[in-house]
Symmetry: C2
Subunit: 390 residues, 2 copies
């Protein structure tokens, strides 16, 4: 049995980034940039008006004749004399002869001429060419997460394809004679199998959508065949159930026989103690606890960071949340606790029903309060650290 800190380190040390793949920018949300991206253009590509108004050459003069117009999308490089201006709109090309744009609210205008009532400084309201980025400049370094804004930025530079890290293929192996698929009739002694659909949903939150589920009964031959296949086809293998000291658990033995190296088994935590972690080359194997709440806890604590490492994330963890505890916590277990909790802008409430079998409190939780193994008593009003799961 190892401590949480060590378990986290071992998982991180074994989760390497996936190979690269080329992807269309409009499908790249949530992917991570795999190679430095350079801008193919200057942005803006020309001197651009930042306002609706009039472009002219700055001088002591206040009156100008209107000799033309520049709308967004135009590119007529109108020649201007000292006493001439043009009507111009936001985003439009500023003629080479003009250096300043006065906003229309600061002008008295008739059809042919304007009188500038409030004179702007020279260069006002003209965005220089390349103000945002120059041609050939770095757009994104590797390991940048592609947010909506990042995708917008790539698009505004005309970039339509980029290299990202592949998303890992994840396979889920479900074992257990007691498990019945939801929708079927529940026979006596059986329960509905919910871990696979829950973990599929949790993977979907990070954009991993096609997770295959392999279901086997608790017998050696079925487990053997399924393991061989799942190990071959996936980058991350999640096993639900079948790893405990129970006499009917063949999974660990079979993993080792299939060339999976054990990296740890059992963690000094509650819930989620009986977890196996191993690897076979770059493929990671997590055998999660069978109890639903333990399984999901360990998904958030261990699997999600591993997925993020594989996807090339530079920031594996969201900034932790610190809140005032509005109850007391006693921890005489000597273990690290992960308590399902609901936090708001100031406080955090530990939810009822922390049993490892229970999902109802997890369903309304937005975070896990982390209670260190040596924190024996946390008092009402004390600050605690929360891992957000929303």
């Amino acid at each position: 049995m190892i401590e949480v800190k060590e378990a986290l380190e071992i998982v991180a040390a074994n989760s390497n980034a996936m190979p690269m793949q080329k992807i269309k920018v409009h499908k790249a949300l949530g992917h991570v940039v795999a190679e430095t991206i350079y801008s193919p253009i200057s942005m803006p590509p020309f001197r651009q008006s930042a306002m609706d108004g009039y472009a002219f050459t700055h001088s002591i003069r206040h009156q100008y004749d209107i000799v033309g117009i520049s709308q967004a999308g135009d590119h007529s490089n109108i020649k201007l004399k000292q006493n001439e201006a043009i009507r111009i709109f936001t985003g439009a090309y500023v003629p080479d002869d003009a250096d300043t744009v006065v906003m229309q609210e600061h002008v008295m205008a008739n059809t042919d001429s304007i009188l500038i009532a409030q004179m702007p400084e020279k260069n006002t309201n003209v965005r220089p060419k390349g103000e945002q980025i120059g041609k050939g400049d770095v757009v994104f370094e590797p390991n940048t997460l592609l947010t909506p804004a990042a995708i917008g930025f790539l698009a505004c530079l005309g970039i339509t394809e980029i290299e990202v890290y592949k998303k890992p293929k994840v396979g889920i192996l479900v074992t257990g004679n007691e498990l019945t698929e939801p929708g079927k009739k529940l026979k006596k002694g059986k329960i509905f199998e919910s871990n696979s659909i829950m973990i599929q949903a949790a993977l979907e939150t990070i954009g991993i959508k096609k997770t295959k589920v392999y279901r086997v009964k608790d017998n050696l031959k079925a487990t053997k065949n399924a393991l061989k296949s799942i190990l071959k086809k996936n980058d991350i293998v999640l096993i639900s159930g079948g790893i405990s000291v129970g006499d009917y658990d063949f999974v660990k033995e079979e993993l080792l026989k299939n060339g999976v190296e054990e990296l740890f088994y059992k963690i000094n935590q509650k819930p989620g103690k009986p977890m196996f972690f191993g690897s076979k080359k770059e493929t990671l194997v997590f055998a999660l606890p069978g109890n639903p709440a333990s399984s999901l806890t360990n998904f958030y604590i261990y699997v999600l960071p591993a997925v993020k490492n594989k996807m090339g994330f530079s920031e594996i963890h969201k900034p932790k949340v610190v809140r005032k505890l509005n109850a007391e916590i006693k921890n005489n277990t000597g273990k690290t606790l992960f308590l399902k909790a609901k936090y708001d802008e100031t406080d955090v409430t530990i939810l009822e029903g922390q049993s490892s079998a229970m999902l109802n409190s997890f369903a309304i939780a937005n975070g896990l309060v982390i209670v260190e193994q040596d924190a024996e008593n946390i008092k009402n009003g004390q600050l605690v650290t929360i891992l957000p799961i929303d």
Copy 2:
């Protein structure tokens, strides 16, 4: 022009929940429950062992003969005499005659009998039937967000279909002669159109995946036809560009002609001032500013809450984040400022490039620092409020 607070209230007051739809639970991630869900079974459905060990009737006796076995999935209601126990595994059916399970680590066992070295209290390690939820009890009230844990909970109760609020259909209308689709050749005076792909990505983060984009040039007829069609087919209409005081903007006029009621136009904020909001029956119309960063800011401030209201969310806003500012902010504009920022566990940094045209700082931001219109000076080290956008 109205204030931010008022604008938020008007948007909220006009964003009503969508009609209901029946959906499969495994496709329900991110949807919101629309009617009270009751449990069709008790969970656990029978008295369940919480441990691998031995089940027996609690007494002063320490030695028991092993007369059977109960594995997970079995349902043999073995009769037990006072001196008899059965081998039992986690999740397995506890025979009616037994009231207690001793964990195997606390027992000395041979093939036929056990000696309990550490006697548990009566009822230990037996999960009562219905401990988690009883048959007919409420699983979720309406307006519960379907998280991975919530989906797991439904599945473990055997529920495969539920009523949720429909997701709104969103259409994006892009106007502007200056706009070129990324991938095409950029002619002089033109820029690449990035708002639609960016807003599509932002909608995707909340699970709205099929957003249709309508592109029109800045001319009356094209705008007219596109508006008619987009208003008919969508629950939320987002218009990018075309709403300013520029002479070439027909959009607002056409909206009004098409029966859209103006609810506000222009907000006292920076960036994002020139926004129009209106409605036609239940359809909401946001004409976003054309500048990319302003457009995305207003998406997060106004559109996303409206989408969440339509989807039935009970919590429209994530808990706000408060962090120590590691710079100084001067606000002599009299406007509310939304500053692109990056926060960590203690501090927040205001990013360079706050111009409304610039997306590069937005691309690496994880929040918007909200500077109230009357906050003229915020000092280094002062706490500020952040709207998280990650």
